[in-house]
């Protein structure tokens, strides 16, 4: 599969995209370029993994796409919405209504129960959501019996599953996952990734995941490789082997 150029794709089939995305940190001598003109699109209903060595810009790309950080130049879109035109409030509402998040850790609000954490974006929007959908998600991630527990009463794997359920609850345009398995043992990690896979295959969600773990990346439909702030390669239907080989190339 060839690199998708944004010009060739209409926004209607893309859940997220960037055009000539540039992100520069610092000023003058301390200036560091995290994104060096990245143009990339993410199709709806696709599970993408963004990979690359430390400092390659993969997290920055995710943050800028997710409305947590702003580009220095270029454009980032969620669906048809240009993020650069939004103020803080509009960005917040976009995150609430159109984006789901799964972070590496500290995903949940410690004072809220699992159920409340799952419903948090909906509650903040004063919406009740679709109860059937919520029930479906909860049973899919296997949390039905833990809903009234607070985060400190849940295991790390359970906490991440709550985070996934929260990300799915409002049927967002796209879900961003930042090293979601980074703090989990391999069994919980695998379980979590299969939930993400299920969300894409059965619930029709779009997921963009940053990871440095080839096994995690192998659950995705495509793996995109970044280095020095640029997209350097892409593998469709990645396997751990293929990804690992590609990763090892960076070391050379």
């Amino acid at each position: 599969m060839a690199l998708a150029t944004p010009q060739s794709l209409t926004t209607s089939v893309l859940a997220a995209q960037t055009v000539e995305a540039v992100k520069v940190y610092g000023k003058g001598q301390a200036e560091a370029c995290a994104l060096n003109g990245i143009s990339i699109g993410f199709a709806k209903g696709q599970f993408s993994a963004i990979m690359g060595p430390s400092g390659s810009g993969k997290s920055t790309l995710l943050h800028c796409l997710a409305g947590l950080d702003r580009l220095t130049s270029g454009k980032a879109y969620i669906g048809g919405t240009d993020l650069s035109n939004l103020d803080d409030r509009q960005l917040t509402l976009l995150r609430r209504d159109s984006i789901g998040f799964v972070f590496q850790a500290f995903n949940l609000v410690p004072t809220l129960t699992a159920k409340e954490n799952i419903l948090l974006p909906l509650l903040l929007a004063s919406r009740s959501g679709d109860p059937a959908w919520i029930d479906h998600i909860v049973s899919t991630v296997g949390l039905a019996h833990r809903l009234s527990h607070r985060p400190d009463e849940l295991s790390g794997g359970q906490q991440q599953r709550v985070a996934v359920a929260r990300a799915l609850a409002s049927r967002p345009e796209v879900i961003f996952a930042d090293e979601p398995t980074g703090n989990l043992d391999s069994r919980s990690g695998t379980q979590l990734l299969s939930f993400l896979r299920t969300a894409v295959d059965q619930l029709g969600q779009t997921i963009i995941m940053v990871t440095h773990d080839p096994v995690a990346a192998s659950h995705a439909d495509r793996a995109i490789f970044l280095n020095d702030g640029q997209v350097v390669d892409e593998i469709a239907q990645p396997t751990p082997r293929l990804v690992l080989d590609r990763m090892n190339d960076f070391g050379k």
Binding site: L68, D69, R89, T92, R96, F101, L120, S126
Partner: protein
């Protein structure tokens, strides 16, 4: 890690500034009060030393008894014929008799100057023709010479828009007098002695208007050159008959200085009490801040610090904060002193001009108090920090402490509260000599005890207070409620500081409301007439007696009778007694006579309140020993026993006995009953017409009399509110501080909430409501404590005529609403800080 450390230091800077500010305010207030006291003492000392410089000896009647509150020894007058004897004493160069009494100058606009009931006195006296003896100096015009001439003090001239050549009215015991102002005088270096108004006449006029013809209040003597004061005084003493004494000028100066100190000591005690309250509230905040930061510090330096190091560093930080804050407070205190001086002037008590007296004592006390109030509350958190393993401290931060506190805490809190309560009740209800010294610490202990217990009731209380929040404010409300309940210890500690302020506000509000309700009831119960003519005077002066006579002669009036007040020493204690025209007054005042008849109240008899009679085993015909300033000790026979303590007080004299023993004859109030045949309007018009000739006389009907009586209560109330407002501001600083720290600790979860869609507005709202919950928790506890204090004081004041306990529900609701509002204000800065948090950094920081 470095980023966290830098953030920590920045957060600490703000926190230290907030904490320090709480101490600064308390210390500034304390310094201000002490500096003001020193300034007042010094300037008055200097003033009297200067103006009496030329007086070498003073002849006066022997003091009969000492009156409280700096009114000094109460003594009668000196017969004028003594002057000739004194003048001939060897060593006496010059001698002059002088009088000083009550007179009120009417301003250009027709209103009498001064407020003798609650402010500085309004004085009338004789102009001294012996320059060395005259404390006043002319700044304009000439001395009074004629029958209708006077000089007035410069302050009265300024306040009353009067100048030399003007003719104005002067109110004295005689009917109102028209007088021409021939000059304006100063008292030493000041425009008026302590804010009093002064009208000075020629000696004979002064004797007639404010004293008695043929009598002086004192005779002042100048010594021959080279004759020491004590020699002169002892020479004079030899020629004086019994009952009179000669004091040296130096002695009189000393007495006057000490009287002024005593008169001011009430104000000083009052202000020091508020300074202590402010400092205690600051102490609560220090305790809370150090409790929080010590836990944070344990996390930051999870490893590598010994217990001793932790303890030492915390105490060192406390001492440093205390020292710096106290130094700043000291500096600001001088400003506060100047402000308080203005406050005094607004109350009508002018402090003479002159520099501020900043004595080492004030500095030492304030510094010590400031450092003490910082270090002592920091001890317990510091000690705890050095004992708690860092891991536990870390856990405490993330999840907060929960539950209801240990059994030991409940036990300690209960013991402290009970000890405080019993001290309070003992002070109020038993005959302890210095009530304030027992009640004050008792009240403080109650506050401490409740704040210790507050941690145990915090959780259910917060849940209760926050119950409507999720319904009112949705998810943000729910988050606020959960945040306020997640660390009950911290919430309780922050609330405690506010509890003190709101508790005292509630207390004083309840007490004031009860006082006013009691005044209303008393008036309804005991006043059976229609109108009251009030003088606005206190113990000295009032309405000339001619007014009551003229009212009585009106056809529209059935009866009008004046009541008089005077200070006596009776059965060993100094009391205010009421003098009234016995048969007439009892037609207007229902004192509930239980034994004897009003008509029996003759020149040698007295009426006694039932409770007092019981206590002192007095029956009709028993003897009561009364000391009068003018006539000395007398034995009066109990001719009546009555049951109603208001407005009569413990003892009542018939007019015959009053006249026989008091030189002055002013009516304090005149009670009027209209003739039944006349309409209300007609009677009121007639009374008003007569009263118009007596400036200062206020004609009041029942309702406006009640309002008038309540006025001083409201004045005191607003003053106390102002001062307590200060402690509430300090408490709000504490709440803001707690919130800021909590927000810093919750950086990550705030980041998560912002990331998943919490707007800045929602975040600010949740901080705001959390703050409101803390504020309301303090207020609820404060209301509980304040209601108890109010109830106790009301019950203890039954004898003073406050017989009714009234809970002003509307006022208390306003307090709650204001506290909630204040909580919102306290949340503004922390909320803004939280909203500005960088979401990305908050979420991804490891």
């Amino acid at each position: 890690m470095l980023r966290v450390a830098i953030k920590g230091i920045l957060a600490r800077k703000l926190r230290l500034a907030f904490t320090a500010l709480a101490v600064v305010i308390g210390v500034a207030f304390m310094t201000g009060t002490l500096v003001l006291t020193d300034t007042i003492n010094r300037t008055f000392d200097d003033l009297f030393a200067t103006v009496y410089k030329g007086t070498d000896a003073v002849v006066r009647a022997t003091g009969q008894f000492d009156a409280p509150q700096g009114m000094g020894a109460q003594r009668g007058r000196v017969p004028a014929w003594l002057l000739a004897k004194v003048e001939r004493v060897p060593g006496a160069a010059e001698a002059e008799g002088d009088v000083l009494g009550y007179a009120r100058i009417v301003a250009r606009d027709g209103r009498p100057l001064g407020n003798p009931a609650y402010g500085a006195p309004t004085l009338g006296g004789s102009w001294s023709t012996v320059a060395r003896l005259n404390p006043f100096t002319l700044v304009a015009g000439r001395p009074p010479q004629g029958l209708h001439e006077m000089v007035i003090d410069r302050k009265s001239a300024r306040d009353g828009h009067l100048q030399t050549g003007d003719v104005t009215t002067v109110l004295t015991e005689a009917p109102p007098q028209k007088m021409r102002i021939t000059g304006i005088v100063r008292f030493g270096s000041t425009d008026s002695p302590g804010g009093a108004t002064v009208a000075l006449f020629t000696l004979p006029v002064a004797q007639r208007l404010v004293a008695q013809p043929g009598m002086f209040d004192t005779i002042s003597v100048v010594a021959d050159k080279g004759v020491p004061q004590d020699v002169l005084a002892s020479h004079i003493a030899k020629v004086l008959p019994a009952g009179y004494e000669a004091a040296t000028g130096a002695q009189v100066v000393k007495e006057t200085q000490s009287d002024v100190r005593k008169a001011m000591s009430f104000f000083t005690t009052f202000m020091v009490a508020f300074a202590v309250i402010a400092l205690v509230v600051g102490g609560f905040i220090i305790f809370n801040t150090f409790s929080m930061t010590v836990a944070q510090r344990a996390r930051e330096h999870a490893l590598g610090a010994s217990n001793r190091q932790v303890l030492g560093s915390v105490l060192l930080e406390a001492a440093a904060v205390g020292l710096v804050a106290s130094a700043v407070g000291l500096g600001l205190g001088v400003g506060v002193a100047i402000g308080l001086k203005g406050l005094l002037a607004a109350l009508g008590l002018a402090v003479p001009a002159g520099g501020v007296a900043f004595l080492p004592r004030a500095a030492a006390v304030s510094l010590l108090a400031g450092v003490g109030i910082t270090v002592v509350p920091a001890c317990s958190p510091a000690r705890k920090a050095s004992k708690v393993p860092p891991v536990a401290a870390m856990r405490d931060i993330v999840t907060g402490s929960s539950g209801y506190g240990s059994k030991e805490r409940v036990a300690v809190g209960t013991v402290i509260t009970c000890a405080g309560t019993s001290a309070l009740l003992t002070g109020l209800f038993s005959g302890v000599p210095d009530k304030l010294a027992v009640v004050g610490p008792g009240a403080l202990l109650v506050f401490f005890g409740v704040s210790v217990l507050g941690r145990s009731v915090s959780l259910p209380l917060s849940r209760f207070i926050g119950w409507p929040l999720p319904r009112l404010r949705g998810t943000t409300g729910q988050l606020a409620r959960q945040n306020a309940t997640r660390n009950p210890k911290r919430t309780a500690a922050s609330a405690s500081a506010l509890m003190v302020g709101t508790g005292l506000v509630a207390f004083i509000t309840i007490f004031a409301s009860s006082t006013k309700a009691s005044i209303d009831t008393t008036i309804d119960k005991s006043f059976t007439g229609d109108y009251i003519v009030a003088s606005g005077a206190g113990l000295m002066g009032g309405l000339g007696p001619s007014l009551a006579g003229r009212l009585n002669r009106l056809p529209e009036v059935e009866v009008a009778t004046g009541t008089r007040a005077g200070l006596v020493k009776v059965q060993g204690s100094v009391r205010r007694v009421l003098g009234l025209d016995a048969p007439a007054a009892f037609r207007l005042l229902d004192l509930r006579p239980l034994a004897g008849r009003p008509a029996d109240l003759g020149a040698n008899s007295i009426a006694v309140l039932e409770d007092v009679a019981e206590q002192d085993h007095l029956r009709l015909g028993s003897q009561v020993h009364v000391v009068f300033k003018d006539t000395g000790p007398r034995a009066l026979r109990v001719a009546m026993i009555y049951g109603e303590s208001q407005p009569a007080g413990d003892y009542v004299l018939g007019m015959a006995a009053y006249r026989a023993n008091f030189a002055a004859g002013y009516d304090n109030e005149i009670f009027v009953k209209k003739s039944p045949a006349v309409s209300n309007t007609r009677a009121l018009d007639a009374v008003n017409e007569v009263a118009a000739g007596y400036p200062g006389a206020k004609v009041l009907d029942r309702a406006s009399y009640k309002a008038e009586q309540a006025k001083p209560v409201d004045q005191v109330l607003s003053l106390v509110y102002t001062l307590l407002g200060l402690t509430i501001v300090i408490a709000l600083l504490g709440i803001a501080n707690t919130l800021a720290l909590s927000i810093f600790e919750r950086t990550r979860e705030i980041g998560v909430m912002r990331a998943v869609g919490m707007t800045r507005g929602q975040l600010r709202s949740s901080v705001r409501w959390e703050s409101v919950m803390i504020a309301l928790q303090g207020t609820v506890l404060g209301l509980a404590v304040g209601t108890f204090f109010g109830w106790a004081l009301v019950r203890a004041s039954a004898k003073q005529g406050i017989e009714q306990f009234s809970l002003p529900v509307a006022d208390l609701a306003v307090i709650v609403a204001l506290a909630a509002l204040a909580g919102m204000v306290a949340a503004v800065l922390p909320g803004r800080r939280a909203a500005k948090l960088d979401v990305l950094k908050a979420v991804v920081t490891d």
